[in-house]
Each structure stands twice: as C-alpha cells, then as structure tokens.
Symmetry: D2
Subunit: 354 residues, 4 copies
C-alpha cells in the first residue's frame, strides 16, 4: 500500500481533448498521489491544456504533445481517452516499458473479438493482451483489477445496467425472468463526447427528448457479455438508450419480472447486502427516488429498488454521473486499486447540487 511518503504515480493521458479527458484532468490534478506528466493530442500539439479547458487555469500547467514526443513510456500508468482502436495500437509497446494501461474506450471491454469486430468495424490487433486484460468494474472484479496490467474501463450504460442487475442474477440465483429484462436508459449529452456534430448541438438536443440506437447500440453486447459472465448463463435484455437535455447524468430504469418462486424475496435487503461496504454504491432506502444531480461530479452510483403495487414486476432505478462513475472516476478507482491505494483516494468529492 502506498503511503503519503510514497513517490507519486506518474500518469499520462492519451487524447485529452474530450470530455473523459478533461474529467480525468480534473480528478487527477486533485489526486494526492498522482503526478500528471504527459497529455497528448495530435491536433492541439503545443497548446496549453488550460487554454482549452479554462477550469484548469492555475492547476494544470501541461501542454498537449504529440503521442511521439510525449514520454508516455516513462509513466506508471497511461489512460486512453481516445477513440476506439487507439489503445490497442499502443498497448504492447507501453507494456514493454512496464506501463500499466487503462483504456476508457472499448478496446478491452468485449472479451469476444468477433463481437468486437462486428460492432466496432475493426479487427482486434492484440487478442493476447485482451486475454489478460480485466474489465474494470471494481464492484465485480476487484481482486483481478488489483493485479492487472491492462484495464478495459466499462461503458457508461453497462456500468448502470450491470450493477443494477448483479444482485439479482449472480451465483446462479433464480429470482427474476432473465430472458426478458428491460433496460430503459437515459443519458445526458456529454455521453456523446466533445465532437462537432449537428445532433448534439444545443439547438438540436435542447428542449427535446428522443430515443436512439433502438436497432442496436455498442453497449448492448457489452452488457450481455458481462451479465452472462456474472449469471453463468446468457440473459435476454432489451436495451433502449435515450438522450436527455442535460449535460451530465445517467438514469437507468430496469424492469425484471419476479419469478413465482421468488415472490417472497426481500429485494431491498438483497441489494443492501450485496453492496454493503462499497464506498461508491449507495443502495437508497426503500421508496427512494434518486435524482441524477445527487451524483453530479461525484463517483457515486445510487440504486433504488421498487416493486410497484407489491406485484411481480421489479423496477430498479440506477443513477450515476456518466463522466465520473461512468467513465473517468471509475478509471481513477481502477488506478487506485492497481497501485495499492485506498479505493476512494482522490474521489471523495461531494456531488454538486444544485
């Protein structure tokens, strides 16, 4: 375990101009055991990071560098806040220098390379590294993460759906009908990234609500693969994501039909016991109605379990900040584990409300 006297972890960020990048910068620049040593952007080479993200003025003095000029191989850990495909192209070399990797894109999320290739339209370039990599959902894979060299940081939607379903399905439980689960998910616009696109302009996404990806979304196979691993059998999940006119925040409403033999189950207790002791998972009291703003800018994920009318339909409400627990905060949580730090180091911010 690191102590206050330990040397700081040297951290680099590849592709730091997007929202997961700036959120990593916000978190890492306040982390007591981290020294930010390099951040790359081909396009913004030479630009002070704080010119692009003025919230970092006076806190981050780095300039963007090209990947070639940045001494990433001197880092202890490198975060990839890049488009899909970048991390796997640089993984082998960095591992060779003893650098550990946390990829916030999808290169190391899906275990099945065929599924990866189908959804991401590119071959996987390092199946062997994928093989040793760990899916970085701490509350599920804590031990394996602590010893990992490469982490596939989970997608935002999968984080909420998997954590919202795990207590119901893990260990071969037979509590709900796992063939027809519904995950009706809603995300703020920052989930779409900091890309110049018409669809997420203020004038398009503001004062508007829509579904998207109903015919298929890349997070769907990720959800299915992980749930199968946890449940020990394939599940049927209908996943419909929606876009909410807000910046941060994700809300997943999960519906599962309780099996006749499980109608007496105390689901509230089930969830509370599963997540007892988890620093970032808050199973709220029975009857609670979580709001996304209660986790704005924090790494917490809150869950409320409902059973309307006492019937056989279970409704699980899950919220998180898609940029924190759904991306950069979870990445830092993984880093803490990998380097022997207390899991919540640098992640104990109180959510910003209002």
């Amino acid at each position: 375990m690191m102590t206050a006297a330990s040397p700081r972890i040297k951290a680099g960020i590849v592709g730091g101009t997007g929202y997961t990048g700036v959120e990593l910068l916000r978190l890492l620049s306040q982390h007591p055991n981290v020294e930010l040593t390099a951040i790359t952007s081909r396009k913004e080479d030479g630009m002070p990071v704080a010119d692009m993200f003025p919230n970092l003025r006076g806190r981050v003095d780095l300039r963007f560098q090209t990947p070639d000029s940045a001494a990433l191989d001197q880092c202890d850990v490198v975060f990839f806040a890049t488009p899909h495909g970048v991390a796997m192209s640089q993984a082998r070399e960095l591992l060779g220098h003893g650098v550990r990797l946390i990829d916030l894109a999808a290169d190391f999320r899906l275990r099945d390379t065929q599924v990866f290739e189908k959804w991401y339209k590119m071959p996987h370039s390092c199946p062997d590294i994928l093989e040793e990599s760990v899916y970085g959902l701490v509350e599920i894979n804590r031990e394996r993460i602590a010893g990992a060299r490469v982490i596939g940081n989970p997608g935002c939607y999968p984080t909420t759906v998997i954590l919202g379903l795990t207590p119901l399905i893990e260990g071969g439980k037979h509590l709900v009908d796992t063939t027809h689960i519904i995950a009706d998910c809603k995300s703020g616009t920052s989930g779409a990234g900091r890309k110049a696109e018409v669809g997420t302009l203020y004038s398009e996404a503001g004062d508007n609500f829509k579904a998207y990806g109903v015919a298929g979304h890349r997070h769907h196979p990720e959800i299915l693969e992980q749930l199968k691993h946890i449940a020990g059998e394939a599940l049927g999940v209908t996943f419909v994501p929606h876009l909410v006119p807000m910046i941060r925040g994700m809300f997943s409403t999960i519906y599962a039909r309780i099996l006749p033999e499980a109608l007496d189950t105390d689901f509230q207790a089930l969830f509370e016991q599963r997540y007892a002791g988890e620093a970032f998972i808050d199973v709220m009291p029975a009857g609670s109605l979580p709001e996304t703003r209660s986790v704005r800018a924090s790494n917490h994920l809150r869950i409320a379990v409902h059973r309307p009318g006492g019937g056989d339909q279970l409704v699980v409400l899950v919220i998180q900040d898609n940029l924190v627990k759904g991306a950069s905060g979870q990445a830092v949580q993984n880093m803490n584990l990998m380097f022997g730090l207390p899991e919540s180091t640098g992640l104990d911010h109180v959510a910003v409300l209002p």
Copy 2:
C-alpha cells in the same frame, strides 16, 4: 356542419392562469370559428389576460373575471382548466343552460367513482353526469364525442399509452402478453403545471433527471380503465413516469412481449392501418426515431414501432406535446367534433423546430 358564415362558437375558460389555460388561449384566439367570451380566475379578477401572458398582447383583450361575474351560462362551450373537482361542481348548472363542457382535469375521466375517490381524495358529486360524459380521446371515441354534452379530456400520459397500445389490443386481439406491459414515460416540466413548488424550480429540475410516482400515479388507473375498455379484458401495465429538463414534450417508451402465435405479425402495417386517415396520428416509417421537438406546439402525436433484433419484444415509441395533444389541443379537437367542425380546424399549426 358549420361554415365560414356560421356564427362563432362562444367559448369560456374557467381557471385560465395555468399552462393548459394559456395554451387554450393561444389555440382558441387563432381558431377561425371561436369567439372567446369569458375567462375566469378568482385570484386575478380584473387583470388583463395579456398582462399575465404577454404572448397574447394584441390578440386577447379579455380580463380575468370571478366565476360568479363571468357570463359562463351564455357560452356554447366552457373549458375547465382547473384543479380536479371544480368542473363537477359547476357542471349541472351549466348543462341546464345548454352549455357543453370540456374538463381538462380528471372529474370526467375515470368511469368508476370508487377509483376516482381513491386517487383524487374527494367524492364524485355528480355520478349521473359522469355516466353520460365521454372520455375525449377522439381516435377511440370519435362518434360518441360528436354527440356528447360533457367531455373528460384525457390525461397527458394516458393519451400516449392508450394510443400506443390500441392497435395491439383492441377487438380481442391476441398479439402481445397483456399481463406485463411496461410504459416508461418521460414528461417535460410543464406537465407539473404553473404552481409555485420547489420541485419544479429551474434550479431543481434543470440539468437533472428523475423518476417519480413509481409507487402510484393518478394516470395509472386511467390507463388501466381505458385499456380494459378497449381490450375487453383487464391488462397489467407497469407505469413509471419521469421528469425531463425540458418545458414541453412527452415521450413514452412502451414494451410488450409478442405472443408466440403472433410472431409473424406485421406490426408496422397494423399501426399504419389503424391510424390511416387520422389527421393527428403519424405512424412514422419503420426504423424512425421520433423526437419530441417535432411536435412542439402542434397537436400531432407520432408513433414509431420497433422490434429490436427481430425478436419477440415490441418497443413502441410515442411522442406528443403534453400541452397540445396531451391537453389543450385535444380539448379543441373535441370541441371541433362536438360542434360539427372539421376536426383539425384551428389546429393545423406546424410544429416549432428548433
């Protein structure tokens, strides 16, 4: 049928200071066959309507009057944009003067007075008038509406859920599992009304997403009662409403499991046929992803039918402007029918986008 030369319909509004009231004013002040003759508000007696709602400056010269001083009994039709319980207290007297009534609150929505009393915490004061009243969902009850004296204008959520399910269930069809339908609904904040409340302040509802009424919502029994009437049998519907940080707009995502014997059904065709010829129901082409802004300030309701992965889970997406088709526009549509006007008279506004 009325003609351009017909005398105008004299219309009154009781309780015109809320959002359904101002929306009625917007629509009726532009309606070619209507003369607005009275609008009441106990609290704002004497105030020019356009002082409260400056969008009406130069268009509406009326002042608010007390219910007593307003000559409502001289009207041809009176709209109640009031809290629940007001319309039924004035119905008998107005009917006695030959006035027709359209209640935008719940007094004439629920057929079962015991259900009404349970959910609205007041006895129903005129069961006989309720008996003759018609549930004002034009696409379901067109003929009865044309001859009605009293209309219970549907709730906003029920309008989307009922119209989204009708093609699947009416006439004793056996297409989907009607015991476990899910309606995951999302509404803009105007649905909460123009009431001074902390929960819908900009600083509370903005940049935030939440569910509410999971344990029970007044629109749930209304949905169940109407669907039972349409299907000829009781249905099981889990209904979870959510609050979206936008002003107008409602989006309902409806999930129904297709029965094994119905897997060959062409659901797209089913919906298109059911609503063929409907002026305000737009069954969008297969694969469409409707956005609430495409109906902003218009009386249209759009439906898209999805079957993700070609499986047995049907996903029906329904959008409307909660203040128009979900309230005041539907009320005007009812009025048009009741007075023999073409159904879309005064309702042919193109939606405002962006």
Copy 3:
C-alpha cells in the same frame, strides 16, 4: 393587392438545411398565398425535406434538389438561406428571369463594399445589384421594399439595435449622446446556425454564459451603417454579443445617455408614437420587463423603455425571436410587401408560451 383568388406566389429556397431554412419552411408552408416550389441543398439532393425536419411531415412534400436541377428561375421569389456569398453569385441570372430575391445572409446588407470585403473576406461580385437592393427592415424602409427586386434581410442583432434606437436618433434629433451608445446583446444558440461545431454543442453551451465577438463582430458595421443612415451622422456604438443557453430568443439591453437639453422628453410617448400602427412592433407600457418567450415563434418585437431612478441614463430593452423577426419572419414580411399582400399575412401566429 393580391386577393384570395390570386394565383399563389411561387417561392423557392436556396440552402434549406439550416435554421433559417426550416423556419422559412414552417412559415411559408402555412402562408395562404404561397406555393413552395423548390428547395435546394447540394449535400442532401433527393432527400425529402420532411425526413430532415420531421415537424414538416404531412405538410411539405418537397425533396431537396441541387441548385442546378431546381427550377429556381420559374419562381416569383427566391429566398437565400445560405452562407454569405451565395446569393450574389446567383442574383444576376435570377433577376434576368424576373425572379425577386430575398437574401437572409449578408450579401446585400452592407452598402459599402469595402466594409463588406473587410468583414466577410470576399470581394462583392455585383456592386450594381447591391446598389439597387434595399435593406429589408420594414419599419424603416417600407416604401422602398415594396418596389424592390432584391432585399438584404437584416441581421438579427441589427434588427433589435436599430429598432431600439431609431426613435431616439432619426431626423436629426438631439436627445441622447450618440457618441457612446452601448448595446449589450444576448442571443439564443440557434443564431449560430445548424453547423457541426464544438462551441455550440449542448454540453458546451448549456448551463453556461459567455460573451463573444467583443473584439469585433460582423453585425457591428451593419448596425453602424444603418444608424448613420437613419441619424444622418455617424454614431459610436459599443456592441457586445453574448450567448444564452436557450434555443430561440434575442434580448438587447441598450444604454444611451440623455442629453441635458432633452431631460424633459417623454421617451415612452416618443417610442409609442414612432411605432403606432406597426403590426409587429409592440412598445410595452412603461415599467414593463419583456421576456424572450413572449415572442417565441412569432414575428413580434417588443420594446420597453426605462429610465432608472429618473436619471439621465436611458435603458431600452428589445426582444425578438432571432429566427422570426430576426430572420425568416422578417423575410416573409418583406415578401408580403413586395407582392402587395397585407404585411402580416401568414405571420399572425401567437407566440408559444411556455
């Protein structure tokens, strides 16, 4: 003057994929004397307009065409909702076919081609047509517009600032210090157009407020040129635009110091008299505080005149919908005049509130 029996005006739109384009489509498709005959977009050739803008489903059956294939020369009037420079490149040919032109970009706004070239970084390709063109601010140039073949439709900011200052300066009045006028202006994000840009993403412009163009903005020389023309002398105006997290709406707060000899002026009466009879200019009662939503989706512009503490500082508040009176509505108002129609034909929509 046209009558109901007159043949409809054949209208074309060049570049209909932006916000001024879709707003023209909304207004013209509801205009009783207009037949939309062509709409062009190089990029979207062949696409049904209503696929891009679903608010037009059932109302506009046109498809986008390339400029070459569209029979623009058969139109009575062509609107240019294009980037700067397009209208002037096609003007001569269309005029040759007897088509009248209304340019919503800047090609025919600035009278001085050197100023145009400085701010728009391109030479003016038809100074002779510019010479005969008219600046389409109806309340200033009504008579000349009626006889014009080419209209330069005003910029959104200039519309508010010019109309907010005209009563104070026209005809050589000496009421305020015209050397140091301040126009602190605020615009919704739709003013930035429907362009894929990072700066106007929801996640960037939402929950945020900023100034821009402080060092120089293209609407500044337009304001100065028109005010000089109206006042008969050059004015000094400091113009600072700001971006507001809303879609539609513009609010200009104009400050002018009252000259000592004019302290007894009744400024409220001055504004009321100047705009008496104007269909779209609403001088609100003394003390009024206009809100942009009171003109949402309508062609009205409202003005309130304040003199805080009765001192020598005049504060003029001006609001409009930047896409209507600030762009497409004003263009239709110009068209009405040019074709002898009552000025408010097709523009009498009540603003949408809330």
Copy 4:
C-alpha cells in the same frame, strides 16, 4: 495559524435549507479544519439533512434542529444562510458566547442603516454591531476581516461589480468617467433561492431571457456604498440584472468610458498588478472570453479586460459561481481568514467542466 493538529473549528449553520445552505454544507463537509456541529431549520426539525440534499448522503449525518434546540452558542462560528433580518436578531446573544458570525444575507452589508431600512423594509436592530462588522470582500478588506467578529458576506452581484471596478477607481485614480458606469449583469436561477415561486419554475425561466429589477434592486445601494468607500467619492452606476436559463453562474459586463487623460493606460497590467497573488482572482490574458462554466462549483472569479477597437470604451467581463465566490465560498474564505487558516483551505476545488 492553525495546524493540522489544531482542534477543528466548530461550525453551525442557521437556515440550511436553501441553496447557500446546501453549498455551505458541501464546502464545510469537505473542509479539513471544520467540524459541522449544528444546522437549523424550524420547518424541517428532525429531518436528516441528507434526506433533503441527497448529494450529502454518507457525508453529513446531521439532522435539522430548531434554532432553540441547536447548541449554536457552543460553536466557534455560525453562518446565517437565512432571510434578511434573522442574523441581526441573534447576533448579540451569540457574540456574548464568543461565537463569530458570518451573515450571508444583507443584515451586515450596508453601512448606512437608513439605506438598509429603505431597501429591506425593516429597521436595523443592532446598529452598534453593524458598526463593528466588516464587509466580507476579502480582496478589499483582508486585514479587517482577519480580526472581525461579524462579517456581512457580500451580495453576488456586488462581488463581481466591485472587484471588476476596483483597479480602476481605488486610491483616487482618475482613469474612467465614474459618473456613468454601466453594469449589465446576468445571473443563473439559483440566485433567486430555493423558494416556491412561479417566476423561477423551469417552465417559466427555461428557454427564456429577461431583465428584472431595472427600476431598483437591493444590490444597487450595496454596490454604490462600497464603490464610494473604495473610490473616496460617490459613483454613478446603472445596474441592470438579467436572469439566465442556467443554474449556477454569474456574468457581469461592465462598461466605463476612459477619460481623455488616461487613454495611454495599460489596463491589462493595471488589473494584473492589482490582483497579483490573489488565490481566487484570475485576470485572464488580454483578449480572453471567460465562460461561467469555467468556475462552476469553484471559488474563482475571472476577469477579462477589453477595449474594443482600441477606443475609449473599456469593457470588463467578470464571472463567478454565484453560489461559491458569490456566496458560500466567499463565506468560507472569510472564515479561513478569521481563524488564521490559509485562505484557500477547503476551497481548492477544480471547477466542474462540462
């Protein structure tokens, strides 16, 4: 100076159910040298604070107490996040127990009790305590604050206007025309507080922009009084506040005419020098365009100095988070000074962007 080993400051909050209250809770619960010991609310007596503000779940275990039952006299410092008039009613008793006071309302802002009584419609009940109290604008009154027993925490608008003008006027400088300064200010809706009011509902304040208080606003006399004190002479300031559809954030655009004899002044240098060494004042590089989101949830205030066209009109742009530097953060900054802590203790959060 306190050290890590010092006992913690015992802090109480009176009236903790509003936005400045919950923001104090967020900041103080993360402050390394503070122990929150009491929080009062008559109305919510007994309710766990984290039930009302779920962002505090797991961080604040206090319950609201009535003012009588809370042991406020055992505190080292008490913050008043109350309506105007409350702090002065309890000040004498608490001071008698050696408690220091920081009032976030107006009781100790205005030095002139007649001005206070005119604007706040109540007599001042303890002019002697007002006499010894200090206006808590650290960058102006640092030394006096360190020794104060009672602090009047500045209003949000005054903080931006005073800090934006101080370098121009202090010490009898003659740089700008101080008779006609203009402060065009814009605030997010949280500035209106967590009060049930129609005007700040999401459906009213959303997608809308308006001015308010043009005829008079309570922050105007506060601005004038402090500026007079700083300049040594009375100034003329026209102050127009506006409401922006965002939650947090304040943007002030200040206009001052440069005097002929001061045209050679390097205003950028003037501001940089005045605020050199200030932890929370960021004078941005020449040409900068600050955005409110760059200080969201942080105690920083950023200033940009512009001189459009190099003329004689100075434009100073000032931003802050109205709930932090404009209220609760500034209050904690005052507390730090009063208790000998480094000024930025517990206030070094990086702003949340996006």
